[in-house]
Subunit: 645 residues, 2 copies
């Protein structure tokens, strides 16, 4: 193990079935081709083969940090969880912030690969280059916060001081397909059901004690040049500038008022594009106001602290505290993840503008271990289905904005208490299939959309459709250009050029996700700063063009995996709501009458990617130097089999 | 050599007489007691014995970085040069910024100790853990900028990219007692004549090629906590906030208008306290206006860039460019050190408010290798002496504000071209002795005052008097409280409490100088951030109280050295101008009628230090754990011998 160069070159492969832990190096060529973090994690998953059952023992669950994780590079506190998703059947990677990535690195690891299934509930304890499997039977079915408290005292550490705990809650243990992994109480690898994969392996938690193996830059001169340039740009950005930029002042939820104003906030299960246009078009109760759950409102009323992730000057985490009465009991709820996405899904999309209830529901999701986006959207879908009588067989359903009931159903889903809970735990796609509710689902490849209406922001339309992990804003964050004007302002309702723009953002994020640094860097930094920090840390001598191609390579490897798992261009689509004539945006807002010109953008996008109808041709694999993995044994010449998951 | 913990534990001891280079570790107890940088450097000088001839081969010239140098700690690009001063006869330490400290660290060194005297002009080349002595005969008497250019091409490096050159100019070679060492063209270890010591050893330059030995924190968790806390405070400070704070916008010269306004800017050889009160009190020509040479004026008119030192978010360096005609020839002068102190000494104190001429003279000082403060003040003293006819025997003298002549005399001093040049090269104290001009000198222990009038800011009065390296603002920067209100505003013209305040600042700076990080940190950070970063980097477990005591220990060791070299409380005094009734501040400004209540403050100060009339008693040495060095063989019970230098 070398301690220099940003690669500890130390990966633990843990067979949970046998209890065996093997320590191995990272293949140098793979590291060069896929960087680390997301890229390398996806490569490990790829090598395991694309037809594994996501909830079976053969699926690989990789916790990966990258060459910049845990260094002084700005916002380098990220870690990627890569696996085959039980929600989408695609490969997925889901990152969380906080300190666990840095601590894992300092404990001597670049990655932990979990295979198999433990006989009994287990947690992994990581300290000073060693991984130990320990019994977790006593905390089975415990909520995440409680489990963390217990583990904290067991290993004599302190979260927020020298310890990270990444844990699942009952949702993960009970196979909720959008169960997440929660880190340090409030950060989550939220999307794609990584928590369900962890639960299927009987792995309750990964506990990391901080160590001293901080990586040194191989070339400090280059690294500090990149680092200082990056910091300068972060300070100068209207978005990221510490204590000034919107993200620093209000966190991600700075977007609530912005999307409401530009008429692109999915409201009432994505039928409307803002709470105002909903109220105009449909004056019947309830009427709500997004401002009440905005970052500005949160800051003014319930903000108590602004903690940061490792090495972050922005501090987008906004710690809130509310007092809330539920079932006659008063609760005091403190948390640091009142994020825009959570607030949208549990708020306007569910016709709820009770600010404090959202803080409570986010905390419940974290305790239960469920993705807030998917949970909120599932509830919104259920509300629409209730309205249409489609849930009549399963009890009373849920009324729009019925907060009390939303909380009850959330617990029901996580604990699988009723038929309704069991149904909704399966995710939008399967619910639509089982109940015949395809027009109610907001999902792409099984994962529901985040908080940007693709009729109002066309870049998000092509982004959702071509995302390799189902509908997602974080694969190619075009709102950077469409809302924030970074790197330059583009018309959100214009489709032309969005295929190209989307692919560019996808490649940039594939790089930063592989480093693994926060995407918010991209509001300030460019490829130049990426190259300087990457080369400075690793000692490599990569050019800007080479690094951009690496982004393309990583994105294409993921797509190739998905092709092998049965996906093609026909899966690169959007919910009918956003495409069909009679579903054009109602109301009189800025997006009125808009639909999403998806087919036009797909042509542009595929041309840029050199894919054929969503499938990576052999020539492209060759050009990018992507090998057919040992586990696949499949040539892309074959027509892909249909998606089986 | 360990690469962790902030100590490379690698010092090169270079005997220039024999050419032998020995590599040695750092004594652990010394490191614990004196940290590194200034503290450890002074200890090395102390161990050499206090009665060496400053310009003789036995004097030690130590280039020391500290445990934070070259790390990601904010503003950690400093290096200390420690030696016995030929200007003051005290121990001295003089720091410069830029990148040489970081590069020396990355090349594998915590310190370079030069002893003896080379037979012929020599430079030291440092690369990857090795020091090599090379011939420098071909660049003898070359100006600093020219020498750097030549060395750059010789060693195939690039200053500003991967190379640092610390060099002396003709002033150092010719024994000007305030010759300095210039780093990377524009950063200087300016004060105390370190360049003359270097010249006396026939050492023309130290050239450092950047390496890869960047230190890793022993405890990354603690280090990053301290680092992030520090960055947060720096960003929030009105003084240091990047692109907002006064220091970041205008550099150190932000102080010109501030001291002018608060009536504390030494003007016309320190007789007046602002250019406005000078003009009122003495309407005869020339009348000048400090605003013309202020940081604001510089920024508006001649700023071309704002580079930074290693790991600095503030960027106080203000790069300027002027076109100037001298002796019929037009010059284009670019430089990055239009500092407040240089601007005061070559400006208002010399009755000069020609902005561009100051840029030219600063560049000349850098090229010649002379301290800008001492040079400007020597010229001001000579102007006052000229006015009084005291230089009549040596030609025409210099008229107030005669810029052309100032430039000529500067070259005369550096090159020792005339009797006037030879005289002024000796420094204020010796000039006063030789010509009988004690009332014209602004010096304390032979070094002249910087840009704060001690009648207007009483803290600077006790600070100049008790500074261990002669009059100096950087031992205890009380203007932080007296002008900037940091950590809290105190009345500059009140003397009570200033003894305590001064000692507190002195201890804090002794710590940061030993780390070695820039003092500007102290406008934002406090002892808490110091402790976190220090412990995090070294793995020590020092408390705040212990660290403060370490500051006291370092300061007291210096004082003890000076006691042994012949200094006592009678040397802790000020120029008569600031103490005597008929010299109270003239004019009608805010400081009108003020004198400096030095004796009262000295009582308070000595009580805080537990010194007896400026001498460290044995008990205090014991309390602080200061050993009598091997080279001294002297007990403090002896009454100190009179200063011989």
């Amino acid at each position: 193990m070398t301690e220099q160069g940003g690669f500890n070159d130390h990966v633990a492969r843990v067979d949970l079935s046998s209890g065996e832990v093997r320590y191995e190096g990272i293949d140098e060529e793979d590291a060069r081709k896929y960087i680390g973090g997301r890229g390398l994690g996806v490569k490990y998953v790829f090598d395991q083969g694309p037809d594994v059952d996501p909830m079976g023992p053969d699926n690989l669950l990789a916790f990966m940090n990258g060459p910049l994780t845990g260094t002084q590079a700005p916002m380098s506190g990220r870690i990627a969880v890569c696996t085959k998703s039980p929600l989408t059947g695609t490969v997925t990677d889901s990152h969380h912030g906080g300190w666990s990535g840095a601590r894992l690195k300092w404990a001597g690891f670049d990655g932990l690969l979990f295979e198999g299934k433990a006989e009994h509930p287990t947690y992994a304890y990581v300290e000073d280059g060693e991984v130990e499997l320990r019994d977790a039977s006593h905390i089975t079915e415990w909520g995440v916060h409680d489990a963390i408290d217990e583990l904290e005292s067991e290993v004599d550490g302190q979260v927020g001081k020298n310890l990270s705990v990444m844990a699942i809650g009952p949702a993960g243990e009970n196979g909720v397909r959008y169960a997440c992994i929660v880190n340090e109480d409030d950060r989550a690898s939220g999307r794609g059901g990584t928590g369900a994969v962890m639960g299927s392996k009987n792995l309750k938690a990964v506990v990391v004690k901080s160590g001293t193996k901080m990586p040194k830059p191989a070339n400090p001169e280059t690294f500090t040049e990149g680092y200082q340039q990056a910091m300068q740009l972060i300070r100068e950005s209207d978005v990221t500038a510490p204590n000034e930029g919107g993200l620093s002042l209000y966190g991600t939820n700075v977007l609530m008022n912005l999307t409401e104003e530009m008429d692109g906030l999915p409201t009432r299960n994505g039928r409307y594009t803002s709470t105002h246009s909903e109220a105009e078009a449909d004056p019947s109760e309830p009427n709500i106001d997004a401002e009440k759950v905005s970052g500005e409102n949160v800051r003014e009323n319930i903000l108590v602290d602004e903690p940061t992730c490792h090495s972050c000057p922005v501090a987008c985490k906004k710690e809130t505290e509310v007092t809330y009465e539920r079932k006659g009991e008063e609760m005091n709820v403190r948390g640091e993840s009142y994020e825009y996405e959570s607030a949208f899904a549990l708020g306007p999309n569910s016709m709820n503008d009770d600010r404090d209830s959202i803080a409570v529901m986010i905390d419940m999701c974290n305790q239960l271990g469920m993705d807030t986006i998917e949970t909120g959207n599932m509830l919104a879908m259920a509300m629409e289905m209730t309205e249409q009588g489609k849930l009549d067989d399963l009890g009373e359903g849920i009324e729009w904005g019925d907060v009390e009931h939303m909380m009850d159903v959330m617990e029901d889903i996580a604990n699988q208490e009723s038929e309704l809970g069991e149904l909704l735990a399966k995710g939008a796609e399967r619910v639509a299939d089982e109940v015949g509710a395809h027009e109610n689902k907001l999902s792409v490849k099984g994962q529901t959309i985040p908080a940007y209406d693709p009729r109002a922001m066309k870049g998000m339309g092509i982004g959702y459709a071509t995302s390799n992990r189902g509908a997602c804003h974080l694969r190619g964050y075009t709102p950077s250009a469409e809302i924030l004007g970074l790197p330059e302002k583009v018309d959100p309702r214009e489709w032309e050029g969005k295929g190209e723009l989307c692919a560019l953002f996808q490649d940039m994020h594939a790089i930063s996700d592989s480093f693994d640094i926060c995407k918010f860097n991209a509001f300030a930094e460019g490829i130049e700063e990426y190259v300087l920090q990457y080369n400075g840390m690793t000692g490599l001598d990569v050019t800007e063009d080479e690094l951009m191609e690496t982004g393309d390579r990583i994105y294409t490897l993921e797509r190739y995996y998905n092709n092998l798992a049965g996906f093609d261009g026909s899966d690169d689509t959007l919910p009918g709501r956003f495409l069909e004539g009679d579903e054009a945006v109602p109301g009189q807002g800025a997006s009125e009458g808009q639909l999403c010109e998806l087919d036009e953008m797909k042509d542009e996008y595929y041309a840029r990617r050199k894919w054929v109808d969503g499938v990576v041709p052999d020539e492209r694999l060759e050009e990018l130097g992507i090998d057919i993995g040992p586990g696949t044994g499949v040539s892309t010449g074959d027509s892909p089999a249909p998606a089986d998951d």
